[in-house]
């Protein structure tokens, strides 16, 4: 049985790069910064380098402390309320900023972003389709 979906945005990324890279914006009361992140369906949360918290003027350790596990280790990050802007979508979310500067990954994970959107991926072509998850006009089952 075929299933059809339509999306409001298409992002073209370089399939030759490691990871699915996309530009986003982080906004909070104290500052704004744009950056690139990897889309990571395996990440439970949205996690960013501590440097971005510094740029935003966020006092990292005042946030909610959370321990994250990776394939072979774990690390600490702190959650802060920010606005994540990607494509034409803008969501308030808890972003986690790594405690240690040596964590150099920036990922959009499930909590805070993926669960709010609907995505279609054609990795071979470097195409990422995105819509707000309940955009009525986009539903085409």
């Amino acid at each position: 049985m075929p299933h059809n979906l339509t999306f409001s945005a298409l992002h073209l990324y370089d399939p030759g790069e490691p990871g699915i890279t996309l530009p986003i914006g982080l906004r909070c009361r104290t500052g704004s910064v744009d950056l690139t992140v990897k889309l990571d369906t395996g990440a439970s949360h949205c996690i960013f380098q501590r440097d971005y918290a510094d740029s935003l003027g966020i006092d990292v350790e005042t946030g909610e402390e959370k321990e994250f596990g990776t394939a072979n280790s774990k690390f600490i990050a702190y959650g802060h309320e920010v606005i994540i802007i990607a494509f034409d979508l803008e969501y308030q979310a808890t972003a986690y900023f790594a405690k240690d500067y040596y964590i150099t990954r920036n990922v959009l994970g499930r909590q805070g972003w993926l669960y709010k959107v609907r995505i279609g991926l054609i990795d071979y072509d470097g195409k990422l389709y995105v819509s707000h998850y309940d955009d009525d006009s986009d539903v085409g089952f």
Partner: protein, 200 residues
Amino acid sequence: MLQSNRNAVRRPHSWRFSSSRMRRGIINNNPRSPLQKILGGTPDPPALPKAGVPSDRELALADMMPDPILPTIGLADPIISVRHSRPSVQTLLQEASRLSQPDQLELIALLIQKVDVPTPAQATRRPTSAGQLASRDREMQWLAENRIQYVGQWVVVEGDRLIAHGPNSREVFQAAKQAGIEVPFLVQVEPEDQLPFGGW
């Protein structure tokens, strides 16, 4: 003659008014409670045609017809304009104050229910007041073409211009702000031959 004509053209106004009040739940002659109709929580039940009573479709068509009594000055019928405008909070409060106490309590409960129910994404979706994300296509292109010179460094790129770079993200960010960049596009340049990302 004139009087008879006036009566004839006033009828749609009369229907329109009563239909408007019915739609707003003030005249409650259908199973939906007035509060539900005010809140718009559930759809109207299908109207059953009755002899001598105009159907909703007829009323809607009548609403769209210009009123021959009013001067044709190119403006909409003021009654229609008012009816289609969004009711103010004051208007709703005035109407609510006329309700019985049980109905007011029901209204409160329904309003709370309506406010509490939004989906997770609706609750967190924000207006664009925080600022739109500028297209970063040119910056991404610049990074792809120039990354080898700045591997490991923090860079701020605006369009196809390098604004600042260095090993310290905070200093690079501040340099960009001082250069007048409102929202710096700040990236730590990854090496081309970086190990594949294993995910979290």
